[in-house]
């Protein structure tokens, strides 16, 4: 099971629809400062149901919608679709390709889709958790967070291990 494709449209600095393809093994994401690399990591987390705006460097839903630039007006909505290759059935759902999609509007409203069908956030979270994919665990290490586990209090560090469990 792996993340095969990521489509970002209107999310943060990705005003134009952008499709990123990933293979198995190691994919490096490179480029100059401020181009949008960490925004790609944010997009993955956000599509997978991340609820903490703070962990996405924002404070409310609107902050992840493209806010305009000197050359382009702001977007009305943000949409990210993550497509997993699931032939090994790592996600216990009878699809070889699993597409999780999230859309947000400036009203603050969020919508979630699973292979095109509208679902609740809870359905996305349950599905991912059943595949041992926990956003709170060690799946995503954000920029500047590499030694966060060392700075945690012992009790909080224990929670980190339980999250992965």
């Amino acid at each position: 099971m792996y993340l095969r494709e990521l489509e970002i449209h209107g999310f943060k600095s990705f005003a134009r629809k952008t499709k990123l393809e990933f293979g198995t093994g190691v994919t490096a994401v490179i480029g100059p400062n401020g181009t949008g690399k960490s925004n790609v990591a944010d997009a993955i987390r956000w599509a997978m149901g991340e609820q903490s705006m703070r962990s996405l460097r924002g404070s409310r839903t609107e902050d992840v919608i493209f806010g305009g630039s000197s050359g382009r007006s702001r977007s009305g909505m943000a949409q990210v679709t993550v497509t997993f290759e699931n032939s090994d059935n790592w996600l216990p759902i009878d699809f070889d390709k699993v597409g999780i999609s999230r859309r947000a509007y400036r009203s603050g409203e969020n919508e979630y889709r699973l292979n095109g069908s509208t679902v609740r956030l809870k359905d996305i979270q349950d599905l991912l958790r059943s595949g041992g994919i926990a956003l709170g665990g060690s799946m995503v290490i954000g920029q500047g967070e590499v030694d966060a586990a060392l700075s945690l209090r012992p009790e909080h560090r224990r929670l980190l291990l339980e999250e992965g469990a």
């Binding site: 952008t18 990591a41 590499v146 060392l150 012992p154």
Partner: protein, 165 residues
């Protein structure tokens, strides 16, 4: 549930020691319950003794050393509870050349069973990639993908990415 946690914990503990020794080329590290009498709520203490040095509190370790201890813990958690995907955003920023090499080796091994998406400026890590995505930003503040060709191998054995706009 208690036994479940203890089994996972024992596995993470031994894996942590193993990856620590691989990343530091020796030394010793341990992950312990602060209160072994009360595993249900006990916190987790980390101690690290780097090769040639004495055991040291985590705060006194250098930036690069802290990154490596954290990475050892991360890989230990992944080893005990394999996840299909891992996103790392500049976890290698503080590593010197020698430590980057060791980090690469472990990344290489893990990448057989786990997909890694690694945001990085580190040339050594980029060399480890099976594929590379380049992210650029247009003059009007919009992120876009650019293809990246590896510039062959220079005198240091380092592949140099060349952006193709």
């Amino acid at each position: 549930v208690q036994d479940e946690f203890m089994r996972t914990f024992d596995l993470i503990r031994s894996e942590f020691r193993k990856y620590f020794r691989m990343l530091f080329g020796g030394g010793d590290a341990s992950l312990e319950l602060t209160d072994p009498e009360d595993p249900a709520t006990s916190g987790l203490e980390i101690t690290a003794k780097l090769p040639g040095k004495r055991a040291q509190r985590l705060e006194a370790l250098s930036g690069g050393e802290r990154s490596l201890v954290s990475v050892a813990l991360l890989f230990a958690m992944f080893s005990a509870r394999p996840g299909p995907i891992c996103v790392l955003d500049e976890v290698d920023a503080a590593l010197d050349e020698a430590n980057t090499e060791r980090f690469r080796h472990i990344l290489h091994d893990f990448a057989q069973r786990t997909q890694f998406i690694v945001i990085t400026h580190n040339p050594g890590t980029i060399e480890e990639a099976d594929s590379i995505l380049g992210v650029s930003m247009s003059a009007n503040g919009v992120s876009e993908l650019v293809s990246v060709r590896m510039n062959g191998v220079d005198g240091n054995g380092a592949a140099a990415p060349v952006e193709i706009p």
